[in-house]
């Protein structure tokens, strides 16, 4: 079965912490340079750059998965991936419904802008994308699944916003499709500390906020082709598709 190099956790300039140079155009450019087959732009609580990134990715043979990094009420970061634009829009509506309204402070948190392919600013998001939405993690997972998406707790072993730090444990009733571990973590060590993760495919990504960090850490996916259906199987470890342990 073919293998594909993926970086599934990248922040564009839309995320408050994303560098000003992280436009969809430059993200795809970097993906090409680093030989990535698959990427996902996963901004905090916003999907504003997904469409454009996919469009540009299509032109340059980079498979772009629609994604977002949602912050739950417990302040756990969770990656959510979707197949269609419709599913993505529905999830954005859900986020917007439950995101508290705090005005962003550019000086303290950074810019939250949507740009076009020429990097011209189209819109500035006024409310802060930093806080957690008023939904607990199990409710978020249920919603992602109801919409047909994939739910992946992010950097679970990281002190900041990792599920183990925020909750102290991995809820038994949490329906995760895969789990992302921190880029500097050792898979064996993580599984030793958290044996309950043995049933999951473990992903690693760059969590890039700067262009040069894209692809600094990746996952190798073994699947039949570049489609969301195959991607889903790889994340779930079904029918021989999987995340290759490197």
């Amino acid at each position: 079965m073919p293998v594909y190099r993926a970086d599934l956790h990248i922040h564009s300039v839309l995320s408050p912490c994303g560098d000003l140079e992280m436009s969809p155009a430059r993200i795809v450019e970097a993906a090409v340079r680093k030989g990535l087959d698959i990427i996902a732009v996963t901004d905090h609580n916003h999907t504003g750059h997904s469409r454009l990134t996919r469009e540009i990715g299509r032109e340059q043979n980079v498979f772009v998965i629609y994604g977002v990094e949602v912050t739950t009420s417990e302040e756990v970061h969770c990656l959510s991936f979707f197949d269609t634009e419709e599913q993505l829009e529905d999830f954005q509506e859900y986020i917007d419904l439950h995101l508290p309204s705090v005005k962003n402070d550019i000086g303290l948190f950074g810019h939250q802008v949507i740009v076009d392919r020429k990097e011209q600013i189209l819109e500035e998001i006024q409310h802060s994308l930093y806080p957690g939405i008023r939904q607990q993690i199990t409710a978020v997972a249920e919603t992602v699944h109801r919409l047909g998406g994939l739910f992946v707790p992010a950097h679970v072993d990281r002190r900041m916003n990792g599920i183990y730090n925020q909750l102290g444990f991995f809820p038994e009733d949490l329906d995760a499709d895969a789990v992302e571990i921190f880029r500097n973590a050792n898979r064996k060590d993580v599984l030793q500390t958290h044996p309950e993760l043995k049933g999951y495919q473990l992903l690693k990504s760059s969590d890039a906020h700067f262009v040069e960090d894209i692809g600094r850490c990746t996952s190798l996916l073994e699947m039949e082709d570049l489609s969301f259906a195959e991607f889903e199987k790889a994340l779930k470890g079904l029918e021989g598709r999987r995340v290759v342990q490197e």
Partner: protein, 113 residues
């Protein structure tokens, strides 16, 4: 009774890690939370924030909400970049070796005497 950050640090024996000039800040109340989203949404200007979180965004949020100071519990010591940011934003950071329950209880008493 008008209480300053300095009053609280002295009465509780808290270590002042930075911004000693701003320890003249008036303390208008207190807020206890380790969830930054909660503080962002609910803390009020002038409140003293008691928490065990010690990362950069703690300072950003304290600044955003114009809090009078941040008190770190359990003897938590923030990294140098956090102190630097606090200095930049003029937010005093105090550190106490005790647990939050005790520190909060004492601050509450001082503010309500």
């Amino acid at each position: 009774m008008n209480t300053t950050v300095k009053d609280i640090s002295e009465k509780l024996g808290l270590e002042v890690l930075c911004c000693s000039a701003q320890t003249d800040n008036m303390v208008k109340g207190g807020y206890v939370s380790d969830l930054l989203s909660d503080v962002m949404g609910n803390a009020a200007e002038g409140e003293i924030w008691i928490t065990l979180q010690s990362h950069l965004n703690v300072v950003a949020i304290a600044s955003l909400k114009e809090l009078s100071a941040v008190v770190l519990v359990n003897g938590v010591q923030p990294d140098a970049p956090v102190i630097a940011k606090a200095e930049e934003e003029g937010i005093p950071i105090l550190s106490g070796s005790g647990p939050a329950f005790e520190i909060v209880g004492k601050i509450y008493q001082i503010l309500n005497d």
